[in-house]
């Protein structure tokens, strides 16, 4: 090992120590980055990185879609769109056994189509779907498990903040990434519904009588969600506007619909903007830290060395891919989904390119992997959020309820690895 390898290793140790002591992840990365760069190159240049790099990150036009997509999700939540999705889904699905659980999944998918985040999707659906399911005697573990799993659709079905950041880091087309998420997202909905049927079919209440009139009337309220999704994804797919512009338009449209329906007043709009900004800030903080940490890694040539090492193992492309995915699953036990993408993708992406995997396809695969981290113990953000809202349901109960969906997720991941065409068929038509 050379001297710079030792500094790099020390850097990682310091990074994890600081993170364990609750230092914000971005700040830990930034400090270790500057410190490591200083130790190898010198303090004046290291501090000079602080002068230029953070300002470049926060004023980067390509990242400005983040605040807009987040704002759109917050506004959609505050205008009650999630409740309408759930009601409409139920009106259509109620003849089936476990109809409320099925409509929770469709409502999660519908909400995911206008919201860029998984945790937000899980949080809002918990408040709406959980009380209903309990009222009709659904067991706690099933009710919370469905919401936790359904919530993960938030970052797979476009728009997705996590996919957008992945695209930025790897210089992959964000529009194509979003489009690539559509089919795997629909597949996820289908497989989740099958899971409800197979794993919990026996314990759930039977269907009710279908009322076509009620079902049709319920559609009157959800057209807005459809309109938003079609306008955003259509605009991106047809190449009429950049993802950033689509995000801004989406946020504005959501706000207008909310105001027109009397759901958003001045107070709600201001609160939504403030919350969206705060959330964006915590993402930008990680991005700032990741850039500074990245310069340190570049100077120690760590990514190149890891690439050489992994490729040198000679396990074949899929063997190496498996190692990377398992590594992400393990890290998912302690790290946030966004933090994992920002911290770890720059390190493994060169390996992936060298092995000849498609960057769009890998984006979907890796997002599905970090998504799994949201519902696996000990740290599963979605599970935590549900637990915060439904205090009387214990964490083990929720983790237990979500287990069948974890198994489905793994099966889906394997399917997408075996049949990349499921991911690639839509984006291929864009070129």
């Amino acid at each position: 090992m050379s001297e710079s390898d030792f500094v790099a290793l020390g850097g990682f140790v310091a990074l994890f120590a600081l993170m364990a002591l609750r230092v914000p992840i971005g700040i830990a990365m930034g400090l270790v980055g500057v410190g490591g760069f200083g130790a190898i190159v010198g303090w004046k240049p290291a501090l000079a990185q602080l002068a230029s790099s953070p300002i470049r990150t926060i004023t980067d036009y390509n990242l400005s879609l983040i605040p807009f997509f987040i704002l759109m999700g917050v506004l959609a939540t505050n205008s009650g769109m999630s409740r309408e999705l759930f009601r409409s889904g139920h009106a259509w699905l109620k003849p089936f056994r476990g109809g409320l659980a099925l409509s929770t999944i469709t409502a999660c998918a519908g909400f995911a189509a206008i919201c860029g985040s998984s945790v937000a999707t899980a949080a809002t659906m918990t408040k709406i779907a959980l009380p209903e399911m309990r009222r009709f005697g659904y067991p706690d573990n099933v009710a919370t498990g469905v919401v936790a799993a359904g919530g993960t659709l938030g970052i797979l079905i476009p728009p997705s903040v996590v996919l957008a950041v992945y695209g930025y880091i790897t210089e992959t087309d964000v529009g194509q990434l979003f489009i690539a998420g559509v089919v795997p997202g629909l597949l996820a909905v289908l497989m989740y519904m099958l899971t409800v049927r197979i794993a919990y079919g026996r314990v759930l209440p039977g269907g009710e009588k279908f009322d076509l009139r009620e079902a049709l009337v319920s559609m009157k309220k959800v057209w807005a969600v459809g309109l938003l999704f079609v306008s955003i994804i259509g605009v991106i797919y047809l190449g009429i506007a950049t993802p950033t512009e689509a995000a801004a338009v989406g946020a504005l449209l959501t706000g207008i619909i909310g105001v027109a329906r009397g759901r958003l007043g001045r107070r709600e709009i201001i609160a939504s903007c403030t919350e969206a900004l705060r959330t964006s800030v915590s993402i930008y903080t990680i991005l700032i830290g990741a850039m500074l940490f990245g310069y340190f890694l570049a100077i120690t040539q760590t990514p190149q060395k890891i690439t050489a090492f992994l490729v040198g193992l000679d396990m074949g492309a899929y063997g190496t891919l498996a190692i990377i995915l398992v590594f992400f699953l393990v890290m998912g036990c302690i790290l946030d989904a966004m933090a994992m993408i920002i911290l770890l993708v720059p390190i493994v992406f060169p390996v992936i390119s060298q092995l000849g995997f498609d960057p769009i396809w890998f984006g979907i695969i890796i997002v599905m992997t970090v998504e799994l981290g949201l519902i696996t113990p000990p740290v599963g953000m979605n599970v935590f959020v549900i637990n915060t809202i439904a205090r009387d349901v214990s964490l083990p109960t929720i983790f237990g309820g979500v287990l069948p969906f974890v198994i489905t997720d793994v099966v889906r991941l394997i399917l997408l690895i075996l049949f990349p065409a499921i991911v690639m068929m839509l984006p291929m038509t864009m070129k």
Binding site: L18, A51, T59, S117, T244, L252, L277, L335, A339
Partner: protein, 157 residues
């Protein structure tokens, strides 16, 4: 104020999209203003304590130990913010001296740069305030908002 900025930026982006002739410098100004919104938001998040962080270990500690871990963590944040504020000011200064301008109309960039910088300066104050409050036993760090329970925070469902 943060809210107003966000709305202004949304509006400017809409304007850019709505008219086939781009508004001159909208590109430069919208990205610079987002930068300013972010640093001012940094001040807000520094006070709330809702940065993305690993809460797992801290939550396993007894309350007293956790309080001092939190104070330590926020001292590290303060240290970083002070360094950033100091170095960034140099950047604002060179922008001013070199007369860097926007790409279309060559309007000076430094006033917006100063606005961005002042957000970082405000973050020093809010982070310090948070440390003092926590050390005296008032308040703690919030469990972090992942991509967002923002939704939850603002929700009135």
């Amino acid at each position: 104020m943060l809210a107003a900025l966000t709305v202004v930026i949304v509006a400017s982006a809409i304007g850019r999209y709505g008219f086939s002739t781009p508004i001159p410098d909208a590109f430069d100004y919208s990205r610079l203003l987002i930068g300013a919104a972010i640093t001012w938001g940094l001040a807000s998040v520094g006070f709330r304590g809702s940065h993305i962080k690993v809460d797992l270990f801290a939550l396993m500690m007894p309350p007293r130990a956790r309080r001092w871990v939190d104070v330590f963590a926020w001292c590290v944040l303060l240290f970083f913010t002070v360094l950033l504020c100091w170095k960034m000011f140099g950047r604002v200064e060179t922008t001013m001296m070199n007369g860097e301008g926007t790409s279309d109309l060559r309007m000076p960039v430094w006033p917006v740069m100063l606005l961005i910088w002042s957000g970082v300066a405000a973050a020093i104050l809010t982070t310090t305030a948070k440390i003092v409050l926590m050390a005296m036993g008032y308040g703690s760090l919030e469990e972090h908002e992942s991509i967002d329970d923002a939704a939850e925070g603002a929700s009135h469902e």
